[in-house]
């Protein structure tokens, strides 16, 4: 006969919770449950109710009534579902797929050249190659238009390429899927470059050398040894970039609008504009489900039988491939290519800010009014003057920087504790669940994400958050948590448990163990974990627009307003400023602490 031993259970529970790592894990589990269940239920509800506006008329029912109309309408065969769902879905998929493939090819080839060949000017190329990742993706989209628009296609305006070389690119080249794919892949190529480069650098060079000694030629080595070994990293890079491309919004808006090229995200926004809230939420749900599927594929492939534990080891003795005669041309081509998509856009944006009439590049049209002017047309339109003169502007800049830092402190610190508790409970089911759940916020489309949090803040319990800075910090922090926690989990994995155990035996309390032992050991990689949220928040446009109390609240929401009202010079000036600040933050932090974006991305995927 079995008797339930209450005392035993009590003691077990007590033992379990006496370990701070366990407490934290349980806390995060509950927190993530809330962070996932609340949005999920909120979204499911939205999918099945009638909203005010057009839905009320179409369904002829009162607001809030249960309905299956949205699902039927969006998926039922016919023109509506094709243009509203199936085509955008196809476009999203193609954009994700080709964008990710190209990003991996660009990034992978660069990574190989940088780690395995005697390419020249590596340092310069390495720095410049990162630029497109630090810039918001839509700035590249805008740049693409400035470059390639021409009088033969749609707009009727001359772009830089036409002005300089008289070249007119065809329509498919300037607008639609193709440029979206190129821009997305350029934006994410640095991401792929860092991840693949990291693997190549950590990969035991002897694996390739032994193949060479066994009479394999270069091609066979790459095909049979290098590629298969970096494949898991390649795959997870692919999936990550794929899901970003799949959910991309701003790039298709810039490059797709002209040819009516919609992705799921841009369609979702159009649905919201038209008042089809239910269908918009269904699209959001589809995007989340796709994200989860991608995540699951990724998980499956990183837990394979052919474990890649040997992917570490001596790396100092890599014999670099001599590019011989091709070295100079390849090096120069790489420099030209990277300069084209790093320095040139900055110059173009800079030029935009000094044109009195946008698009007129003649010197007589130049002015510094938009930077330092006091008597401006825009001034009378409610602006304060040149952006460096106005107090509002500087406040908005200050708030953006403050918010970015606050978000990263939130995300980074939470990430640190998640990393600690997950790693110390490695192999328990709860730890695996917390690790997987920390990824959830990443999957919710930005527009839906902020709408859900806006609604949350208007409930009685959380109403103190409404229109508050804290709400912005929470939303940004939660959204970027996946980056931070992933990075921290990986950096914690690299510290052996013995180091902490030694401290436990010396009766050092847990917080001291974290902040005096673990953090100092991994400070560079942890700091890198803080850097990615800063940079992401700095260039994030859509996430905060809905929840700021005023669109001039901070620089990015201001930018959005300028884009809408069409003050191109101001918009360009802000864009330029944001990019420059991000570049400065990255440079300064890599000089001061050794942490840089390349590192924080790199730590993202070390399995």
């Amino acid at each position: 006969m079995k008797v339930i031993n209450l005392e035993k259970i009590k003691n077990r529970v007590k033992t379990y919770f006496s370990n701070p790592a366990n407490c934290m894990l349980v806390f995060f589990f509950i927190a993530f449950l809330g962070l996932s269940i609340y949005p999920i239920t909120a979204m499911i509800k939205e999918m099945f109710i009638v909203h005010a506006g057009i839905e009320k008329t179409l369904i002829s029912a009162k607001k809030g009534t249960f309905t299956l109309y949205h699902i039927q309408k969006l998926f039922a065969p016919g023109e509506w579902s094709v243009t509203s769902f199936y085509i955008p879905f196809k476009n999203s998929f193609l954009l994700g797929f080709f964008g990710a493939s190209l990003a991996i090819i660009f990034g992978g080839v660069t990574a190989w050249l940088m780690t395995r060949s005697n390419l020249k000017y590596k340092k310069l190329i390495g720095t410049l190659f990162m630029f497109p990742y630090l810039m918001p993706a839509w700035t590249l989209a805008q740049f693409w238009i400035y470059l390639f628009q021409n009088t033969n296609v749609m707009s009727g305006n001359k772009g830089i390429v036409q002005s300089l070389f008289g070249l007119c690119m065809p329509q498919w080249f300037v607008y639609g899927l193709f440029p979206c794919v190129i821009v997305n892949s350029l934006h994410f190529a640095p991401f792929a470059y860092i991840l693949i480069g990291g693997i190549l650098q950590n990969m035991d060079a002897t694996l390739e050398e032994s193949a060479q000694i066994l009479r394999a030629n270069r091609l066979r080595i790459v095909r049979k040894v290098t590629l298969p070994i970096v494949m898991p990293a390649l795959l997870s890079t692919f999936l990550l970039v794929f899901s970003s491309g799949f959910a991309s919004y701003a790039v298709p808006v810039f490059l797709g609008g002209a040819v009516r090229f919609y992705t799921l995200a841009s369609k979702m926004k159009a649905m919201i504009n038209a008042g089809y809230m239910g269908q918009a939420y269904i699209i959001a749900a589809v995007m989340i489900i796709c994200g989860i599927i991608i995540l699951m594929i990724n998980q499956k492939y990183t837990n394979k039988r052919r474990s890649f534990t040997t992917v570490t080891g001596k790396s100092g003795q890599v014999s670099l491939v001599d590019l011989k005669k091709a070295n100079r041309p390849i090096s120069i081509a790489m420099i030209i290519l990277t300069v084209c998509f790093s320095v040139v856009p900055l110059i173009v944006f800079a030029l935009q800010t000094i044109q009195r009439v946008p698009g007129d590049y003649s010197i007589s049209n130049w002015t510094l009014d938009f930077w330092i002017g006091k008597d401006l047309d825009a001034y009378k339109m409610g602006m304060v003057g040149g952006i460096l003169v106005g107090k509002d502007f500087l406040m908005a800049l200050f708030r953006l920087v403050l918010l970015s830092i606050a978000c990263s402190v939130f995300a980074g610190t939470a990430g640190l504790f998640i990393g600690y508790s997950v790693v110390r409970n490695r192999r328990t089911r709860l730890s695996k669940m917390v690790e997987a759940m920390s990824f959830f916020p990443y999957l919710i489309p930005t527009i839906a994400f902020s709408a859900i949090y806006l609604a949350l803040a208007s409930t009685k319990t959380f109403s103190f958050l409404y229109n508050s800075f804290l709400l912005l910090v929470i939303v940004g922090g939660v959204k970027y948590l996946p980056f931070a926690s992933r990075g921290c989990i990986n950096s914690m994995l690299q510290v052996s448990a013995e180091i902490e155990e030694a401290a436990i035996l010396m009766k050092v309390p847990w917080y001291k163990r974290i902040f005096r032992i673990l953090v100092p050991i991994q400070k560079t990689s942890i700091f890198s974990g803080y850097l990615l949220p800063i940079v992401s928040a700095m260039r994030e446009v859509d996430l905060f627009a809905l929840i700021v109390s005023n669109s001039s609240y901070m620089l990015t929401t201001m930018l959005l307003a300028f884009n809408q009202t069409g003050y191109d010079q101001y918009a360009s000036a802000i864009t330029l400023l944001i990019i420059v600040i991000v570049l400065i933050i990255n440079q300064v932090s890599s000089k001061l602490t050794g942490a840089s974006i390349s590192q924080s991305v790199g730590s993202y995927n070390k399995q």
Partner: protein, 368 residues
């Protein structure tokens, strides 16, 4: 056939010399160990022979073929040098099964499927790893991985087999076992082995010749016993042998035909084995522990500092004045700590080194 010749090989990174003006001939069917502490250039030398590292200067010949010549610019890549290489961490490809790992080289050489299969089966049998054929490297033990690495290397029948500390990742017992296997393999395969190790015992037991290196230069290149008994210098003497040689500071002066040495507070007569020039002044006297004899009427008064019996032999640490001297006796014997004993230095293998550590002479030392 596969005779390896290194002529004036130098490897330099900036101002740092990895290998400095190295000359060495490895005869056909030799088993040469490159021995030395980490950073001495032994692995670099091996990798230069393999073509994984490019020498800054010099010539490398394998067989009659010049595979590298800095003057003429000849530099055959590894795949054309017809060598085998076993890496310290085995470098098995994690994404291939044991079978695929072994078959890889043969596929590179465009063998047909049937021959590959036969050869792989043969190698699996030779290394006694048939049952692991379908497993991935991560699913077998270190020793088994080691065997796979050897099988993979031998499958292509290399005339020269280069090994970079292949046993260092194995546990002690397995290491001993594999040593035997390697020596047997050398006898069976008729190939030239070049073996990198920092373990002097491994070098002693396996090699036909040891090349002891320090800071990129050869200290001594000779058969193991010669290295042991007639070390070129203090460094070699110290590096080889366990427990290591006893070194005692002393003074030497010529007295008539012989020399008089002061050491450990005693005076001794030194009879060199070969005729010796006039010398004098500060020296270091070196003698192996096995020549430190414990005898009842030994002239050296020592006290037992500690005793380390291993069963087969016993190392006794003796305190003579302020110096600790090791002595080894065969079999198990026990001494009481602080027991007073008498000792003498036997044999004619006592080494005399000058202040720079170069050997001046060897001979017999008689304590007076």
């Amino acid at each position: 056939m596969p005779r390896i010749e290194l002529i004036n090989i130098t490897k330099r990174w900036g101002d740092f010399y990895g290998v400095k003006n190295l000359n060495m001939v490895i005869e056909d069917r030799d088993f040469v160990s490159l021995l030395g502490p980490s950073g001495c250039g032994k692995t670099t030398t091996l990798r230069m022979i393999a073509g994984l590292e490019t020498p800054t200067e010099g010539i490398i010949k394998i067989g009659d073929k010049v595979v590298f010549d800095s003057e003429t610019g000849v530099n055959l890549s590894s795949d054309k040098r017809e060598i085998g290489f076993i890496f310290q961490n085995y470098a098995l490809w994690p994404h291939m099964t044991v079978y695929e790992n072994i078959a890889f080289g043969l596929e590179s050489m465009k063998w047909n499927k049937k021959d590959i299969d036969a050869r792989v089966k043969e190698m699996l049998a030779l290394m006694k790893i048939e049952e692991f054929e379908k497993r991935y490297p991560s699913e077998i033990s270190g020793g088994q991985q080691q065997r796979v690495a050897i099988a993979r290397t031998l499958a292509v029948k290399p005339q020269v087999l280069l090994m970079d500390e292949p046993l260092s990742n194995l546990d002690a017992k397995l290491r001993l076992e594999m040593r035997t296997e390697l020596k047997r393999l050398h006898a069976d395969t008729d190939s030239t082995f070049v073996y990198v190790t920092h373990d002097q015992l491994e070098a002693m037991t396996l090699s036909t010749k040891i090349c002891l290196m320090k800071e990129g230069t050869i200290q001594q290149y000779a058969p193991p016993l010669q290295v042991y008994n007639e070390p070129n210098n203090l460094y070699v003497a110290d590096f080889v042998g366990n427990p290591s040689m006893n070194f005692v500071e002393g003074k030497i002066a010529k007295t008539g035909e012989n020399f008089e040495v002061e050491l450990l507070g005693y005076k001794a007569k030194f009879i060199p084995n070969e005729k010796l020039e006039d010398i004098g002044g500060d020296i270091t006297v070196g003698f192996r522990p096995e020549y430190m004899k414990i005898e009842e009427n030994g002239k050296i008064k020592a006290s037992v500092y500690s005793t380390l019996p291993s069963g087969l032999e016993t190392t006794i640490k003796l305190k003579v004045g302020e110096e600790i001297i090791s002595s080894v006796v065969f079999g198990a014997s026990d001494y009481v700590t602080d027991e007073e004993l008498g000792c003498s230095i036997a044999g004619n293998n006592v080494c005399i080194f000058d202040k720079d550590g170069q050997k001046i002479s060897m001979g017999q030392l008689i304590i007076e």
